[in-house]
Symmetry: D5
Subunit: 142 residues, 10 copies
């Protein structure tokens, strides 16, 4: 643990976030996501929910304002209600990036898309449609 770094983030995860560059994307996946099938760099965060990780990561990692989207969600299947966990995500994103934009991708395509992510965090999230991709922006050191 260190000051200024949220305690739920493992050393391996912080190292990963630091190694990402402008435009690289990371998937915070739920506990049932087929992570190892879709990435060679899987970072486990068993028992931690996506909202916690999202809030933690937004403290350290800027999103990309130059892109058409700052985050990506998995499209709900027709008939499924809008996932309530999305409201939590939106609150966090609103605080960090007013005016942010979220894209959705159809489920099978989302799996394929995640193969190009820099890494996948396998969280302990159990809510449906909890997967969230973030696009890293430029870090401007003070």
């Amino acid at each position: 643990m260190l000051n200024n770094i949220p305690k739920e983030l493992s050393p391996e995860l912080v190292k990963c976030l630091m190694e990402m560059g402008h435009g690289d994307e990371i998937l915070i996946a739920d506990g049932n996501y087929p992570a190892m099938t879709n990435s060679q760099r899987v970072i486990r965060a068993d028992g931690i929910g996506v909202p916690t990780l999202l809030e933690d990561i937004l403290q350290l990692m800027p999103l990309d304002p130059y892109s058409d989207y700052q985050a990506i969600l998995m499209e709900t299947v027709e008939g499924d209600p809008r996932p309530t966990i999305w409201d939590t995500y939106k609150e966090d994103l609103d605080k960090a990036y007013p005016g942010y934009n979220i894209k959705t991708i159809e489920r099978q395509n989302f799996y394929k898309y995640s193969r190009d992510c820099f890494a996948i965090i396998q969280s302990g999230e159990t809510a449906l449609y909890g997967n969230l991709i973030l696009k890293k922006g430029v870090v401007v050191p003070k």
Copy 2:
């Protein structure tokens, strides 16, 4: 994740618990414990408290009834109050092992002692004196 296995336990941790034998001991350490200095097998559980891990592990791992002790705590320094987190531990242990026995070891000796543990779990626990060693008993498959 799997049925019957608490979701906070990582695949690596469950594998470790399975590989332990009768009499082997594991330390559930707090987030500030010098784990890597004292073990070559450190399993991280960032953001998870010791009580959660204790409750989870007791669901899977029997303690050793033939030993003089089933668990070990770090002795408090004179003047320090009895840590309230110990009450939580005792409740959990009481449920699982009525009549269990806890040993304490003085701080510097506790560090040395932990070098012989099978593994150290680096939890996210922030309470003082939260470190807890468990001694594995014999598993009797049904």
Copy 3:
């Protein structure tokens, strides 16, 4: 060994089952299956039959109810009798997933198909047509 985990499952196999996600498939292959030719993740279970492994795995791993099939068998060649070992499989599956559905795939295609499995378990099964693929469902922790 641990409580609640069947004793025939090795630590490596349980770790593998935990790392699988929703929709990932695992092949429980017989002792003569060309496992290493078709997978980079082969887990050995010498001397253990497929029915034992099936029963064990169903205790821990849910199958996928949203899929058209929950399991896959290798199609028998014309003229070959229906393998009696399939009855054992069906009993186990019936208990765990009433209304389950099994798909069959022609032999050469089955080999190719197995290349995309998350892992192959090389059991000690000697019965013909004993290979069985299972599709993992969503784990809902209590």
Copy 4:
């Protein structure tokens, strides 16, 4: 699997038995033995009992007739009855090495002694006092 090699023996175990030389010893340990604590070469045989492994290994590996003992058991604690599994061991050994000799070692010393074994097989044996050390003899190829 291969002809002439018992099917419960894994490729890794057969390789290990082949690499052992005259006088090297191997421990067939029960499922609760602290194997990884006492050896850097642990070979798993989950779900397989010691008698099966003993019978299998005696088909391939000669014991050492020049030594004072061919096998070692863990001494029972005073008051414990003679383990019935030992009778099975003795039958197998009798068939293979009429006039063989078994040594016993006190429990704590047995653990220490096993640190010098060539390897430890972690079987699925659940009987008490089931651990058995075998001393390899000279192989005389035909």
Copy 5:
């Protein structure tokens, strides 16, 4: 060394033969064969001839009776006499598999074909056209 396992077979080679499954093929190559160029699993047997290895392997590994061929040789170039070493092969095969069938493949295609072999044994054979591919059958444990 072990009883029942021919002494020219290395532990690594026996492990390899055990890991092969039904239909997998292994090439026993001569000492000049470009083995490493055509396989990522090369097992050396310097100083040992192909006939010795063939005789040894046939003691352990069944060939595949369901296939159109049980073995493959490299086609001789027009004008080259029939290699006398083939007679030795045929005697050994005759003893083990009366009615066996041998296929030949043209030299450049043989090289390419060998890329799909499970492994290549680099023997010390110096006879021309000494390369021999064997197709593993089903092992039926007694």
Copy 6:
């Protein structure tokens, strides 16, 4: 790079600082220090001076207030003037830990002492007597 993490710190170094526990010590060594001879975990920071690294690290890592000392310097040889770079260190430490205490250790002993450090950072510092050991304190997450 990430927000809140000084840009001179490499991902590997931040990971290392996070893995350190209460009481672990890290040496920020100058560019001529025999680092690899004295540690198996050397983290390079070529071209960066010790004052920069000190200031950066103090932003993330608390020092240990319960210890007799928070930092250690290499004792100057008799006759050598007091190194001016120490003034920079003291300013930084003063800001972060008013009332801190610095120990000095004689040169040959300093080398030996550094063998027990958690890690050694090989900086690009060229000033004499620039080596500085820091003792990590307890992190109290907000």
Copy 7:
């Protein structure tokens, strides 16, 4: 550190420059460049700017006079002013290679192009459009 080798260059970087051959190209990337996504050989130089690295590398590595270009920059997006850091680059290059030629490549293509670079140096540069590719020439030892 060594004489004649600029102190900001790490041992790993110098080894890399030595291993490059005639025509190989290396990218000195800024701190926000997605380096790990585009190369399997990333060398970190946290906290060091591109101009420093450029000046250092030009002391050791000749550029290729036989090529149409000696260096490559990332094309500015329409409307963006000419980056002032380029003037620094040009001064350095002018001193080392009067008459040198610089090519520019459009941003998305630059990313793709960098995948074929021998290595990517991840510097700490924060200026926009700071990425610079150098093409190594023939070394003529004295």
Copy 8:
């Protein structure tokens, strides 16, 4: 060092030459050749010229008499004089293989061609057009 093996050949290089088979080719490249870009097996011979390596290798490795060529050179660009180092090569080859044949390949194609070589030796040769590919023949042990 060993008797009968020229002292400039490293243990790794001799091992490599022994592992090559009939028809495999090895490139003895000059010191500026982009070796690592074109091969995953680069063997360094810093400070040793190609003529020395050629003479050494011809003592151990036969060339392939059945091929249309025994060696390959990089074609000179129009206008460039015939490299004098080629005369040295031809003398050595003449002694070892009277009637040998040398092929030349255009520069860019030579780079691509070398990607299929068994290995590349990175010598210290500084002469232009010094690269030489040798094709291994059949070794006939006495």
Copy 9:
């Protein structure tokens, strides 16, 4: 295979012999020697006898004339006849080193002594008392 290198010597063994220096010793062990227990560098030569290996090695490796002994044998136990295989060894040594000297070491001490050998070759020798240690001399390249 290569010219001038006996064909029974594997690439790994020749590399090993080349890496040995003046005074280093190598054990050519029989097939029953506990090689892996006594060395971390075991080179297998299954199916090859010690006399063949001895003759081969003496073609490449000089023995040490400055030492009191050039070779070491395992002392026979009282009552055992003088091993006839020793005569073969002596003939080979006589040819290579007229006036050579052989030391013998008692069996248990021989095992311990072999722990300091540079490497152990595990041959396929089945004769009793066949183990032979050779001491490498200085190579004087022509």
Copy 10:
């Protein structure tokens, strides 16, 4: 190869020299030195003599003026003449460090002493008593 770095030095050797710190020692050993027995970091320089390596290294690495000695030679055995190669060493050292001091160590102790060297370079030197240890000084970047 690079400008300012002598061409006989391999990338690995330069990296090693850069990683050495003040007071670390490196042995330039002759071709018969038992290097691997005495060091875990052996860098080969087959075919290169010690004088060449000495001259090259002195261009890059300062010796330690604060030590009683800057270099160490192996003491000649009584009766042996003073090795002429030492004159070459002394000339080179004279140029680089007028007033330098050389220590000698008796042969058996020299071997033991070399175990603490940072690395051993195995050169191709064939002269007797050619081994030379250098002690690195402080590098003062310009």
